[in-house]
Symmetry: C2
Subunit: 146 residues, 2 copies
């Protein structure tokens, strides 16, 4: 393996790890971890499913704090995670398979859902930070399940 | 104005122009222009509203050809266009206010809709090419209109 190929492999692994940590921070309701994952920049972008884009680290952090306060339980099963590194910028697409519950939900009735996300990370020193997150609901026109 | 500020201003104008041309190519049903706007790369990303991500220039071009074949009339009114240039990568967010019609539509019944898009362009030589497009429907929870 060439030095360049090794570097790309390491970058892909690092990006995949930060991407997983983004969802883990949401699951734990850990606003500090969530804040650290985002690039601290006025031009970061976050589009929650069905919502309009938010711009800037402070607006985005506020939105996550609000979401976390209103979602006592959420769990993500990520599928189709694809990472692509382009020098100091990396894209990730993934399917967010979501299991959620709120205060009115009893143990036997969780709600499920599916969204797709495009996440763009930028390299800052030794780490990767989230620059853009855009998630949207998937409208199934066909059922592929048996 | 410093040389650097002038450069950023020129970059922002150039990105805004390519972004407008992307929607104009769709309106004209011009698949050649649409193909040129995209980065010719296996890692380009396109998420149409409600759909799963498509990856790679050839898959994306095929999807646009199919959409253009099925949408005889579409017009975009872009609002809230915000451009941000980060060296050789640029992000655009905009609201796509859409007016559309199909073969079954008479002159008095156009359908309207609203989506938001995140578009990411990369600088390639003298021009900017579309690397990522993610569009999603906006679910209005409140009516702000009078």
């Amino acid at each position: 393996m060439t030095e360049r190929a090794r570097q790309v492999e390491q970058d892909v692994a690092a990006v995949e790890e930060v991407n997983a940590e983004f969802y883990a921070a949401f699951e734990r309701g850990d606003i500090d971890a969530m804040t650290r994952i985002w690039l601290d920049d006025p031009e970061t972008l976050c589009t929650h499913p069905g919502a309009e884009p938010l711009r800037g680290a402070s607006s985005i952090t506020r939105s996550w704090a609000l979401i976390m306060a209103n979602v006592p339980y959420i769990q993500f099963f990520l599928t189709d995670v694809r990472v692509s590194v382009h020098e100091d910028v990396a894209s990730v697409t993934c399917t967010e398979n979501v299991l959620t519950a709120d205060e009115r939900t009893d143990e036997s009735s969780f709600a499920g859902g599916r969204a797709v996300a495009t996440n763009v990370f930028v390299r800052t020193g030794d780490t990767w930070r989230l620059w853009i997150h855009h998630a949207s609901p998937v409208i199934s026109v066909e059922h592929h399940e048996d």
